[in-house]
Subunit: 334 residues, 2 copies
């Protein structure tokens, strides 16, 4: 079994995990990226410099590469890539290639923070109050139905690009305009063009503790487990220090309920904030998230589980081996 990770960028750890997982099968690990300047290339067996994701030829190039190199599993790692590949899942399947990605509708829901908010409120999950219409927000501020500080961010945002705190109306109006400009200047413009009139989301700021969940479904969207991490130190939207928590009943229940309603495939990376002892679900990433390595380091091995599932086997690779352990990100130069 040969595997291709697309848009792998700096996630060299995932390349290592997958290489280790397919070693017993004598499979080869391929990595693609739109530039060869990425750390993930250093650990791959084979690499492909692909066109940009929004290039017309992107799908054709990836598909041809897969056929040529007998790749049967493709795993996208970047949000824009998820959407493009999910829309083309069938083309790949016709060629005997599984793309580990949820259906396009689910990817769109996860990538669009306003659709995520609507999904959460409609299904009874607690989440920070959010707005997409600034006129409604202003009116609710006037009527004391919502209070500063507010968080403004790109509706189709990724990482910490264009995320600002507003403490008053002047800051709110300013950042609303400034974020629009930032969106136009970076890759956020691609997906943002799907909703050209409402590209900024306004959200009640929650200042409490932060958790990250890995909610795992199998290839047929059946629930397989939730792994709970308390984020101890963050840097630019990514977790630096994290505690893997076992037997967190309440968050595991939330994970299970999200899985049942969303019906995603593979990993769903979820951010949760705490306010007054209530868990507020914040955002979804329908892929391996930046916090997955903390789950992996605790003994869970989703790459191996995915391979088991593809081979129609049961998996015993979704178990934590080290309970309640604090783990640290460490930097090396290669």
């Amino acid at each position: 079994m040969n595997i291709l990770l697309t848009s792998a960028g700096r996630r060299s750890y995932l390349v290592k995990y997958f290489k280790e997982a397919i070693e017993p099968l004598a499979g080869k690990l391929h990595v693609s990226n739109s530039t060869e300047l990425c750390s993930s290339f250093k650990f791959a067996d084979h690499t492909l410099v692909s066109p940009q994701i929004y290039d017309k030829e992107y799908i054709q190039v990836i598909l041809s590469y897969c056929r040529k190199h007998k790749i049967t599993l493709v795993i996208p790692l970047f949000d824009i890539d998820l959407l493009v590949l999910s829309r083309n899942k069938r083309v790949f399947l016709k060629n005997g290639i599984t793309v580990l990605v949820s259906n396009a509708q689910i990817i769109e829901l996860c990538n669009d923070k306003w659709l995520t908010y609507n999904f959460l409120t409609k299904n009874g999950f607690d989440t920070p109050k959010s707005y997409i219409e600034i006129s409604l927000l202003k009116s609710d501020l006037d009527r004391n139905l919502i209070h500063y500080p507010l968080i403004l961010k790109p509706r189709w945002g990724m990482g910490s690009i264009g995320v600002y705190r507003a403490d008053n109306m002047e800051e709110l109006l300013f950042f609303n305009k400034y974020i629009q400009k930032q969106i136009n200047e970076c890759y956020l413009k691609y997906e943002s063009s799907l909703t050209p009139d409402n590209r900024v989301i306004f959200q009640k700021m929650i200042a409490g503790e932060e958790y990250g969940l890995d909610i795992i479904n199998d290839l047929n969207t059946n629930y397989s487990g939730t792994f709970v991490k308390r984020k101890i130190a963050m840097r630019s939207g990514e977790t630096d220090i994290s505690e893997l928590i076992t037997n967190h009943r309440e968050l595991e229940e939330i994970g299970k309920a999200i899985s049942a309603k969303l019906k995603h495939i593979g990993n769903l990376d979820v951010d949760i904030l705490v306010e007054d002892n209530k868990f507020k679900v914040l955002e979804f990433n329908a892929r391996f998230g930046g916090g997955y390595p903390f789950t992996h380091a605790a003994g869970v091995n989703l790459p191996k589980a995915i391979i088991d599932w593809l081979q129609k086997n049961q998996t015993d690779h979704l178990k934590i081996k080290t309970a309640n352990r604090i783990q640290f990100k460490s930097i090396e130069i290669i």
Copy 2:
């Protein structure tokens, strides 16, 4: 010889480098930090949770620890720590302890971006035009002596906290106010209180390539070499991908000239921007910088050189072994 790295935070790689360097001497590597939650603690032989740097007892606690554990070399790794320890160098020296830090005047010059700018212009180094008085900036904008985009940042800033681009007067005025608020809300408030009236610096934005220099002086401020890195990919103010360039005459000359004028001790981490083929010196960090591991991975070993110098030996550890190599940051979980 036992060594203490203070404010080591997430720089676990430096702990490893220094441990390796003192192994032949049977020395122990100690690390201090104001919280035990840091990756550097994981690799140290011994650790100390110290008071906050601005705490009255900070110096006394560090000094007592050094005496108790027979530490003869202290290396601070964080800008605020540099200033506090440089002011107390003599107290340590009286106890037979070398603090690897420049004199307080030099540290202040490096930590204060306005003093850095004045040092550079007075000594004939090219640098992006900068302002500390907004009234003068406005007047120069009116007279077309400076143009947008401008970069606004905290005068005593570190990392990428509070750094914004302004494309017009509205953005300029807004961010000037907004940055003041951000300074008050984080540790930047400590050093910023040294210049309460002018806490934001305004600078012509240079959009070209970026270089990082490690300018090395020995313990007596004698020039020992300049190592040139072209920054290929950045993330939140830190280098992700970098090319170590050998024999870059022009930048090596700039490094040598800075060393001669500044007379720092140990490593000086310098940011350089390129515009119209001219090298513009931007900022100084009078310590091991975030880009040092790229220099180290190319074969230079400053920890070993420092130990040689302390033992009054010549050093042969300041040589690049791999020429013009592109190197990548890689993330592990420990």
